[in-house]
């Protein structure tokens, strides 16, 4: 059903900006390498990119990067499952009991704008310096968007679809499970995506802050050992994982809502 007249820019124009962008980044790295090697930039503050790349190899081998990655991923997954279940359930409940929604929705929105991660010292006390603190941090950070988007998705179901259900004499439960909820799924997934992203950010951030866990803890470790290149490399690894995670979520979302 695609329109054959969709703008078909010459392939060159589509690729050129991406090439320029990538070339600029590479050129900057090369320039940095040069400036550091000739001493214009202090190599004890900014390690040359070549050393950072070497450190990459080192941390992959010596620092059990894969095990750390799995740990972080497990924490994130746990938090993710929790926030999805609780978030969607809360959202559904709040939609079902309109009074509850009117009372609490602004509170949830306020929580979404609050610096929840600042509670990590509190969680340290309550849960201890372990994975539970990290998971809980990811959980509460990612919860508000799921709740809000669930409510939004269910409430915004097109009226005509609701009318179709009524015309088939569906009762409230059937109406919900067969019409409202499926129609809300794309928006709910947007909320889950946001929740997962916040969860990952807070999981890694908390690992860094409390010096426990997987990838985030690696950075703290290397920084305390004054392994400069290693610290930079570890940060790059975390950023890379983060970016890939974000891209994967985007792909999944696009796959789930092909027609909009």
């Amino acid at each position: 059903m695609t329109d054959a007249t969709a703008t078909q820019r010459p392939a060159r124009a589509q690729v050129a900006p991406a090439v320029i962008g990538f070339a600029t980044v590479t050129a900057t790295l090369l320039l940095a390498e040069l400036l550091i090697q000739i001493g214009a930039i202090n190599r004890y503050i900014v390690p040359p990119p070549s050393e950072v790349i070497e450190a990459f190899r080192q941390i992959v081998v010596e620092e059990h990067i894969f095990r750390r990655f799995l740990l972080t991923a497990a924490e994130c997954l746990t938090a993710g499952v929790m926030l999805t279940l609780c978030g969607v359930a809360s959202g559904v409940l709040m939609h079902r009991f309109r009074l509850l929604q009117r009372a609490c929705e602004t509170w949830v929105a306020a929580m979404a704008s609050a610096p929840l991660v600042l509670m990590y010292p509190l969680f340290l006390v309550i849960f201890g310096r372990n994975a539970l603190t990290i998971i809980m941090m990811g959980f509460i950070a990612g919860l508000p968007p799921v709740i809000l988007k669930t409510i939004e998705g269910i409430t915004a179901t097109r009226k005509v679809l609701v009318d179709v259900g009524r015309s088939f004499n569906l009762n409230a439960t059937q109406q919900f499970w067969k019409i409202l909820f499926p129609a809300a799924l794309p928006t709910i997934f947007v909320g889950v995506r946001l929740g997962l992203i916040f969860a990952l950010i807070n999981v890694v951030g908390t690992e860094f802050l409390i010096n426990y866990g997987g990838l985030g803890q690696l950075i703290t470790d290397l920084a305390e050992r004054y392994d400069l290149a290693g610290t930079y490399a570890a940060i790059c690894v975390v950023i890379l994982v983060s970016v890939l995670f974000f891209m994967a979520l985007e792909r999944i979302e696009r796959w789930l809502r092909p027609v909009d």
Binding site: T2, D3, A4, T5, A6, T7, Q8
Partner: protein, 280 residues
Amino acid sequence: MATTAASAGDAILVVDDITVRFETAEGPITAVDDVSFHVKPGEFLSVIGPSGCGKSTLFNVIGGLLSHHQGTVTVAGETISSPHKSIGMVFQEESTFPWRNVTDNVAFPLELVGMPRDKRIALARHFIALVGIDGFENRYPGELSGGMRQRVSLARTLAAAPKILLMDEPFAALDEQTRLLLGDKVLQIQQQLKQTTLLITHNITEAVQMSDRILVMTYRPGKVKRIVDIDLPRPRTSEIVGSEAFGRYVAQIWNDLREEASRGMRDEESHVLHHHHGGA
């Protein structure tokens, strides 16, 4: 390609051999082909044509917003390659600044050239009264109707005292009654200020009522099909609008347009067929 006998010497706007080509997904198209005409000071010239005849392209070229063309546009001797201070443009779409009130909207061009505040407010007020929206100086465009917003746009353009007023279907988005009232207003102002005006339109009645001459364009590639002298007395009262002579002008132009409009429709249809066939 008939042109009137007016000599280019006393023209204030000379459009000479304008050709505009675009690259599109389906290959190069010629929007405007070899269009030439001139406008005398104080004259009201309408450019009329079917959709797709390139009149908006022509508007952008004369206004200096489109420099990728062949041929020249000259205003009072100077060639145009970018927006010129002698040309004022009124656009078809909503173009008032929603964050400024009416006075500040109208005073905008005066602000740009650094006119002191008191002077520009006074001048803005003058033009606000001229277009007939006095009393609304402190309102915001969001509070006004479509017709009133177009008056604000008109006042804003007039405030810059352009030698030539260039309007691209300024009444297209308005309902019929508002359009008639606004058209009368524009005509009244034009006669009062002796403002040289170039109006792009697709409304034949409007064109005949307001213009001294009408330039009829062909369907793409847009060429000058005919230039018609409207030899009707001013002011163009409703009597004149209802007269036989008026009707003859309208019929003549409609004849020309109908040919072009049908060509346009056939072209559109074959376009749709061709691409559906390819895309199914």
